[in-house]
């Protein structure tokens, strides 16, 4: 483990080339000991770097040695000027990350950490620094509203808590609410905020309900007892908000008897699998793609209608890179008759972020001043480049981002569909 930056400073006056020097029996007289010099970093004022590295979670920024592997894979650098290396370098040039616009551009997609030889960890650095910025009152306006709506209404869309299960009325199949059901279930389905409230999210939720019913799954949802996972809000600096939502959700989860939890989205998958255990909740969690793959032998015969289209799949950062699941979505897509699956260049571990994670979902108004186009627009262009007619997703943040991107880049012909919608179409036609 490298020493903290401030402890690496060598006392310059004590460093010279020693004419005669023997160390541990080794004669390194003269020029052989000339290399004991200062790291270049100390030619600069490293106070701004130390401000970050002295924060719990911020230490790893000091380990950067400027190789720029991160710059090559950072999704924002493709459409802007950004990477952990650049942030590190900027601290040397006097930029204070806590008050810099750079603080809000990172989506925590983790492509940098994947390639970093020194394990500079933006997934820890960003929330740590952002938390301080939020405490000091520096929050971009759109993000502030998302925080406030999450706290007030239990969802970042500012919709009524009471109406969280309103989407079930037009699902066409029963969607039991566990409180009303009054008995244990096999599967507790955590629906999530965007599938509950956003029109395109609701389309996917209804499709999921029809699929679960067709498979005879014994499931129930929480309805208005369910609150947002707030994992992205946590990564955007509101750790207190995350804890508040988690305390509520955990107490509700523990009220009922169920065997496995199935989630619609990768962000709650990440929260429940990796963060909630730290707060005392550890139960089996599956993303819906993983769950449906377990039932593939029952599902496949139900996929009667052909979908004769060229489909590409966008790996969601928080299912793929963060949690290692690349295959389950593809297995489902390959099970659909007639569907031609093509891969984009930036796929699997090198997937290109849609821009929604880490608070990005509520920072477009801010990010637009720093990028030539939205990350989602860049990704849409890639999908079209690889000949896709359909861009398929399995994260509720993505549908609206890519549909907007398709419209704004003049690619209205590209359909954006959740895998649930494709499965539903293959099951029920239409």
């Amino acid at each position: 483990m490298p020493l903290p930056v401030e402890q690496q400073k060598v006392i310059q006056e004590a460093v010279k080339e020693h004419e005669h020097l023997v160390v541990d029996g080794m004669d390194i007289s003269g020029h052989w000991n000339r290399m004991f010099g200062q790291r270049v970093i100390f030619d600069y004022d490293y106070a701004n770097l130390e401000k970050v590295t002295s924060l719990p979670g911020g230490e790893s920024l000091g380990w950067c040695y400027g190789c720029a592997k991160c710059t090559a894979v950072c999704p924002i650098d493709i459409v802007g000027d950004y990477s952990p290396r650049k942030i590190h370098r900027k601290t040397q040039m006097g930029i204070d990350l806590f008050t810099s616009d750079d603080l809000w551009l990172c989506t925590t997609c983790m492509n940098c950490l994947r390639v970093c030889p020194k394990e500079v960890n933006m997934i820890q650095i960003m929330p740590a620094v952002r938390e301080q910025a939020v405490l000091a009152g520096n929050v971009p306006e759109e993000l502030q509203k998302a925080f406030e709506d999450t706290a007030k209404y239990g969802n970042p869309l500012g919709q009524s808590q009471r109406k969280r299960a309103a989407w079930t009325k037009t699902a066409g199949v029963p969607v039991p609410i566990i409180k009303d059901l009054g008995r244990p279930v096999d599967v507790l389905w955590y629906v999530g905020s965007y599938p509950s409230y956003h029109p395109r999210g609701q389309d996917a939720a209804r499709a999921a309900a029809r699929i679960f019913n067709a498979l005879g799954i014994d499931f129930a949802i929480l309805g208005r007892e369910e609150k947002d996972d707030a994992d992205s809000q946590r990564l955007a600096g509101e750790i207190g908000l995350f804890e508040m939502m988690a305390e509520h959700n955990i107490s509700v989860f523990e009220k009922y008897e169920w065997n496995v939890m199935v989630v619609t989205g990768p962000h709650e998958y990440n929260a429940f699998k990796n963060e909630y255990p730290k707060m005392g909740f550890e139960r089996p969690i599956l993303h819906y793609t993983q769950f449906l793959v377990q039932h593939l032998d029952k599902l496949k015969p139900l996929l009667k209608h052909e979908i004769n289209r060229t489909v590409t799949f966008h790996d969601p950062c928080y299912l793929g890179r963060h949690n290692g699941e690349y295959d389950a979505p593809r297995e489902l897509l390959r099970a659909i008759p007639g569907l031609k699956l093509v891969e984009m260049g930036r796929c699997r571990e090198n997937g290109y972020c849609c821009g929604g994670g880490g608070g990005g979902m509520w920072l477009d108004s801010f990010t637009q001043n720093h990028t030539t186009m939205r990350l989602s627009e860049r990704r849409v262009l890639e999908a079209v480049e690889y000949g896709a007619e359909v861009l398929s997703v399995c994260c509720p943040f993505e549908v609206s981002r890519f549909e907007d991107g398709a419209k704004s880049t003049g690619n209205d012909q590209l359909d954006v569909l959740d895998i649930l919608e494709l499965l539903d179409q293959s099951m029920n036609g239409g």
Binding site: Q144, E148, K152, Q161, E238, E243, M244
Partner: protein, 270 residues
């Protein structure tokens, strides 16, 4: 300087508003309450004045559904110094004129130099709490204010009139100001800070047990709006829709110039 902010806890408009069985008011069991948005600006303005000119900010409201604590904790987390709530055995639908009487009685005992309150509230759109406080406290009132500076016994306030006209008033303190907007948007109070405040905050409780004067009005009927017409949805691509819109405008007689074809339809960019 002693700054008092009078706030109002009102039904949240994010909810579908449900009526009681008699159809005379909301069903208060089925609706969530939230802080009046203009009061959020009043709190922000009070804290800004304190930061600029010194003093102490006290936030006070009537605890209509016994859930005001969260609102008061948030205000304290944003920089208010003290919080107080008026408690008693009353109905959630208690009208604002009664609230104004109770607030005035409580504020009177706080030696106020400046009283800020939201210019109006979304539940009744009455806008009377401010003027009534001023009348009860025998202070001047300026409403629809977009910014307040206060120091040395005087306040400078910027009042918005229609047509984009702004007036600048100088008001002798003590005074009551009806705030429409603070000088800058309400700041964010981090949840961790609010939770911390909630652990240690002491909220003064002021009891009232009288019925209150009331507004002198009886709410006879409340009903949801009836949709009278519908919107006509136009289909087609941008050019086709533009042509149809031009036809509608022309046939409605709203267009005096000659518009006989669409030359270009631009995509709306950010």
């Amino acid at each position: 300087m002693n700054i008092i902010v009078a706030i109002k806890h009102i039904p949240s408009l994010a909810d579908e508003l449900e009526l009681n069985a008699e159809g005379t008011n909301l069903d208060f069991d089925e609706v969530d309450f939230t802080l009046n948005e203009f009061d959020e600006h009043a709190i922000e303005q009070a804290v800004l004045i304190k930061e600029a000119s010194g003093g102490s900010v006290t936030v006070i409201g009537v605890d209509v559904i016994e859930e005001l604590d969260g609102v008061l904790h948030t205000a304290l987390a944003k920089g208010a110094d003290k919080a107080a709530k008026i408690v008693g055995d009353f109905e959630p639908g208690i009208d604002s004129h009664t609230q104004a009487r109770w607030l005035a009685d409580a504020i009177q005992g706080m030696s106020p130099d400046l009283v800020l309150t939201g210019v109006q509230a979304a539940d009744d759109l009455d806008g009377q709490i401010g003027p009534m406080l001023a009348a009860y406290l025998d202070m001047p009132y300026v409403g629809v204010v977009m910014g307040v500076e206060a120091a040395d016994g005087k306040a400078t306030v910027y009042k918005e009139y229609s047509g984009g006209v702004m007036a600048k008033f100088e008001v002798d303190l003590p005074a009551v100001i009806g705030v429409q907007a603070a000088t800058s948007p309400p700041r964010y109070a981090p949840i961790s800070k609010i939770r911390q405040v909630a652990k240690t905050a002491e909220i003064e409780e002021i009891e009232v047990d009288e019925e209150g004067d009331g507004a002198g009005l009886t709410l006879r009927k409340m009903a949801p709006p009836v949709s009278a017409g519908h919107a006509e949805m136009l289909d087609g691509d941008a050019e086709e829709v533009a042509e149809k819109i031009i036809e509608i405008i022309k046939s409605a007689g709203c267009c005096s110039g000659r518009v006989d074809r669409v030359d270009r339809v631009d995509r709306v960019d950010r």
